[in-house]
């Protein structure tokens, strides 16, 4: 085994990664305006209908002030939650994702992925998260 790292090989690996990424970029599109699709509860209430996505780490915890029905969707159980969403969602009903409190970021990641997978601009993340809902 060659025991000393070769700068040439390292550069080759980085170059190969760049080429692969360049090829991939031809087939995927950057989510537009990511993170700029936060929405406040007052604006959500103005929608005639909305699909709520529960992006909390523990969606089984029942809190009566949270909206219902809501679809649990996390990255580690994405397929299950995504199927539920597809069954419940009637386009072009807006989709709003919330997570714990106002410091969590899961809602933004989930909304970004949903925008990409559904190719739908009506997916938002709820500003302030669960703290936005009145008790």
């Amino acid at each position: 085994m060659n025991s000393r790292p070769s700068l040439r090989i390292c550069i080759l690996f980085i170059g190969l990664s760049g080429v692969a990424a360049a090829i991939q970029s031809a087939f995927v599109e950057r989510p537009t305006g990511s993170m700029n699709f936060g929405i406040q509860l007052n604006d959500v209430n103005a929608f005639p209908a909305v699909v709520w996505i529960d992006g909390r780490t523990d969606p089984t915890s029942t809190e009566p002030h949270l909206p219902s029905p809501r679809i649990p969707l996390q990255f580690d159980t994405w397929d299950t939650g995504f199927v539920q969403l597809i069954e419940a969602w009637v386009p072009p009903t807006p989709i709003v994702v919330f997570c714990e409190g106002d410091a969590c970021d899961a809602s933004k990641s989930i909304a970004t992925r949903l925008r990409s997978e559904l190719a739908f601009d009506g997916v938002f993340w709820l500003e302030e998260g669960t703290a936005a809902f009145p008790h």
Binding site: M1, L16, Q24
Partner: protein, 146 residues
């Protein structure tokens, strides 16, 4: 002989981790892009998108190269550099008190603290591998002599 198996174990574990980390992120670039933005170090735009596209491929290539003796030392240098960078990033994130998922592998819900602690284990494996690779010529001579 023990050192030989430890080297194989370390290379397979570390390489396997990076292969999985890269391979799970490549089909979900949008999700990884969101994870990068969650760190609130760079904003939405081309730089973050460039990282989201390139880093998973680099992880996959370096992880695979680690499995082959001919490219192992170079791959290891890249992997240790990436791990050092990730640790700085995670330490800053912990210091800032951001409650985010690390985004280390597609769909992973590993917390920032969990990833920070796990990476020390990976760095340990990497250092063990580096130590083994420095001694391997001696080992090869030993094997030839036998």
């Amino acid at each position: 002989m023990l050192r030989f198996f430890l080297t194989i174990f370390a290379a397979a574990s570390l390489g396997g981790f990076f292969i999985i980390a890269g391979a799970t992120k490549i089909p979900d670039v949008a999700g990884f892009y969101g994870s990068i933005l969650n760190y609130k170090i760079i904003g939405a735009g081309n730089p973050a998108w460039f990282i989201a596209l390139t880093l998973p491929w680099l992880e996959l290539i370096a992880g695979t190269a680690l499995l082959f003796p001919a490219t192992r030392s170079s791959a290891l240098a890249l992997i240790l550099a990436m791990l050092a960078f990730f640790q700085v990033l995670l330490a800053v994130t912990l210091f800032r008190g951001l409650d985010i998922q690390c985004g280390c592998s597609g769909g992973s819900t590993t917390s920032t603290l969990g990833a920070f602690l796990r990476n020390w284990l990976l760095i340990g494996l990497g250092l063990m591998l580096a130590s083994g690779s420095r001694r391997s010529p001696k080992f090869s001579r030993y094997r030839l002599a036998k």
